[in-house]
Symmetry: C2
Subunit: 392 residues, 2 copies
C-alpha cells in the first residue's frame, strides 16, 4: 500500500499540513505568527518551512507584498505559492482518461478528458494522461511542487495483476512524485462529498448505476476503504436468491437487475425498444408505460438495498450517479419510496437522496481529494506519532 508510512514522516506531514492550512486560511503570515498559531518549536518550524520553500509550495514576501530586498533583514513573511501544483487527479476509466489539478490553495485549476478504445495499452493511457495534464498546465503550474498524484482505476484495489503493479511505477516515472491508487467509483464518492451533490457531507453513501453497479462510502469525511480495500460493492448484494447469474460468480446480485444492460433487457422484455439510456429517457418522455414500469421495479429494489445500508451505516446523504441516474425522477422517485418504506422509522427524514452532479470528472477530482486527505490532519492519525522511530 502506498499510503503507509512511518510515524516520523506522518508527524512531519501533519506539521506541514498545519502550516499550509494556516497560510490557506490567513494568507501571508510572519514566522513568528506561524510559530504562535501552530504551537511548533522554532526548530521544527524552521525545518518544515525549509522543506515547503524548497518544494516551491511556500514563498517569502516582504511586508509590502514584494520580494524582500538584500539590505538589512526585514521581518520575513510567508505565503502560499499560487503557481505551485499541489495535486493531480487521474481517472483511468474503461474507455477514457480524465484529469484534474488543484494548486496549493486547493483551488481546482482545471480538468480535461479524452475517450479511447477499450484495448489501449497502459503505457499509452499514461502518455495520454500526461498530455492532458500538459494541456491544463500551460506553463504556469510548477509540476516540481506537486505533492502527489491520486489515481482512480477500474475494479477493486485488492485485485492484483501486472497492470496494477505497472501503473504506479509508470506514473511515478512521469511525474516524479508519490502515486496514490483507489477504485475510481469510490473516488467519485469522495469527490461528490467535497465538490458535488453532497458537498460538505461527512457521512455519504454514493451509488453508481452504470454498466456496472458499485459505489463508495465516505465516513466521518474520509473515504472508507474496508479491511482489505473491499468496500462499496453494493452491486453484489444479493437481492434475489433465485435471480440471474452475476459476473462476480454470485446469483441475483443487485447488478443483475440494476445495471444499464439489465434495465435495457427488462425494458425490451416489457415490449420497449430503447437501445441505450438516451433511448430509455426518450421513451419516458414519450410517456411509454413499459419504461416507467421497468424503472419503478428497479428503483424499488435499489431503494430496499439503500434502506438496509442506511440502517447499518447511517449516511446523511445518498448520492445516485451513473448513466441510469439520467432517467431522473422515474428512477429516483421509486428509490425514495422504497427507501422510506424500509428505513428505520426514526431515520426516515434524516437522510437526503440526491442525484450526482460531477459527472465523468468525479473520479479524477476524487483522486485529488485522496491526495489532500492523505494528510494525517484530515484522515486517521497514527496512535502515537513520534520522532525517532522509523516505522510502527
Amino acid at each position: 500500500m502506498q499510503r503507509r508510512s512511518g510515524p516520523l514522516s506522518q508527524l512531519r506531514r501533519g506539521h506541514e499540513e498545519l502550516v499550509l492550512g494556516l497560510l490557506r486560511r490567513h494568507g501571508p503570515l510572519s514566522r513568528g505568527a506561524l510559530g504562535t498559531r501552530s504551537g511548533l518549536s522554532r526548530t521544527t518550524l524552521h525545518d518544515i518551512l525549509g522543506a515547503l520553500q524548497a518544494s516551491g509550495a511556500v514563498v517569502t514576501v516582504a511586508q509590502d507584498g514584494t520580494a524582500p530586498r538584500g539590505r538589512g533583514r526585514p521581518a520575513e513573511t510567508l505565503t502560499l505559492n499560487p503557481d505551485a501544483g499541489q495535486a493531480i487527479g487521474i481517472d483511468f476509466a474503461r474507455r477514457a482518461v480524465h484529469v484534474a489539478i488543484v494548486n496549493v490553495a486547493h483551488e481546482v485549476v482545471g480538468s480535461a478528458s479524452e475517450p479511447h478504445g477499450a484495448d489501449l495499452a497502459l503505457a499509452d493511457r499514461v502518455e495520454l494522461a500526461e498530455r492532458l495534464v500538459g494541456s491544463l498546465v500551460e506553463g504556469t503550474l510548477r509540476l516540481g511542487a506537486l505533492s502527489a498524484v491520486g489515481v482512480g482505476i477500474v475494479g477493486p484495489v485488492a485485485d492484483s495483476g501486472a497492470d496494477r503493479e505497472d501503473l504506479p511505477r509508470l506514473l511515478r516515472k512521469r511525474f516524479g512524485v508519490p502515486v496514490l491508487l483507489d477504485n475510481n467509483t469510490r473516488l467519485a464518492a469522495l469527490a461528490e462529498s467535497i465538490w458535488g451533490a453532497a458537498a460538505g457531507g461527512q457521512d455519504v453513501l454514493y451509488l453508481r448505476l452504470s454498466h456496472g453497479v458499485g459505489g463508495g462510502l465516505v465516513v466521518g469525511g474520509a473515504l472508507h476503504r474496508g479491511a482489505h480495500g473491499l468496500s462499496g460493492e453494493f452491486g453484489h448484494i444479493t437481492v434475489d436468491e433465485n435471480g440471474a447469474r452475476c459476473g462476480c460468480g454470485g446469483t441475483g446480485c443487485l447488478e443483475t437487475v440494476a445495471s444499464v444492460r439489465a434495465v435495457l433487457d427488462a425494458h425490451r422484455t416489457a415490449g420497449g425498444h430503447a437501445e441505450d439510456v438516451a433511448g430509455l429517457v426518450a421513451a419516458l418522455e414519450a410517456g411509454e408505460p413499459a419504461a416507467r414500469d421497468v424503472l419503478r421495479s428497479v428503483g424499488t429494489r435499489v431503494g430496499a438495498v439503500l434502506a438496509a445500508l442506511c440502517n447499518a451505516v447511517g449516511p446523511g446523504v445518498i448520492v445516485v450517479g451513473g448513466e441510469l441516474a439520467e432517467t431522473g425522477p422515474a428512477l429516483l422517485g421509486p428509490i425514495e419510496a422504497a427507501l422510506s418504506a424500509h428505513i428505520l422509522p426514526i431515520s426516515r427524514h434524516k437522510v437526503s437522496l440526491r442525484r450526482a452532479t460531477l459527472g465523468d470528472v468525479g473520479g479524477a477530482l476524487g483522486g485529488i481529494a485522496l491526495v489532500l486527505h492523505e494528510s494525517p490532519l484530515l484522515s486517521h492519525y497514527p496512535a502515537e506519532p513520534e520522532p525517532g522511530e522509523e516505522s510502527p
Copy 2:
C-alpha cells in the same frame, strides 16, 4: 453532543495525548526528551505538562526514581502517575449496571456489575454505578485525575427524552468530569475490537443477537456513529417483506426472526419446549432436531444480511454476541455458510467470523474506549486546528 469542542481545546487535547502517549511508551522522560520527541515548543510543553501535573496524571521523579530534593535543580524527569484514574466506563443496561476503570497507563484496573429491576429510577442507577466504582477504587485511585466518564445507554443516542438529558447532568455532578454517551451495543462493538474477539481489528462489524438485535461498526479503528448517531441498526434491516410486524414500526425486520423471543417462538412452533436460551442449548445438546432446524433457518437469514453488509462495508472481522451466540456452532455454522454463499467471491476468505468474548462488561469497557478514543490523535482531527479561535 458532548464530543464537540473548539479547535483550540482539541489541539490542546491532542498535545496532551501526544505527551501521555510518549510517557506510556517510554516510561519516565526528561522535559528535554519530551520536547525533542514531541516537536512542541518549550512554551507549549510547559503549559501542557503544568495541566497534566495539576490533574495528577503526570508526576515528577528524580533521575534515581525518588522524589526530587529541594537543593540545586536536578534534571526533572516526568512519568505517568499509576494511581491516577484515566477513565471510567459505565453501561446502564436494561436490568443491570456494569462499570470498568482504566488508569493513565490504559491498564484495566477492574470491572463490576450488579443487576436491578427494570423500573429502577435513574438517580438510583447512578448511585449504584457510583457504589460499584467505589468498590473497585478501594482508596487507591485518584478520581480527581479522571479525564472523563464514558457511558453506554439502551437505544439510539439520537432519541431524546428527560432521561437522556438528565443522565449526563447527574453523572457530571457525581464524578465532576465530562460525560460521553453512546449506545451500549455500539460501545460493545468498540470494546470487542480492542480487548475482545476482534482485538486489534481496525474494521469490525459486531452483531448482537439478544432480546433486541443490534450492533455496531468500527471503521479504521474508531467507532462509527453515522450522520445522526443512527448506525449499527442491523436488527431493522428488512429480511422478509411479508414478515411479522416489528416493534420499530417496520415489517419483517431481522429482529422479528433473530431475537431471543422470535427464536424461542419458532422453536415452540416447531414442537420444541425451551423456555429460554439455556433451554435451547440443552435441547441442542440432547440432539433435538427442532432446535437445530430453527437455528439453521435463523443463521441463514443472519448470514445473508451479514454478507450484504460485508460487500458494502468490508470488515476484517465479524463478531457475533448476545445471548443467542451461546448456542454456538448450531447458529454460527449456518451464519458462516450463508455469509460465504452471498459475499462477493473475492472477499470470501478475507473476513473472519467470531463469537464475542467480553460478555456483559463489553458495554462498560466500550465506554472507556470511547473516552480514550475521543482524543483527536485517535479519532478524527479537525481540518485545521488553530490556537486563537474558540470554536468553528
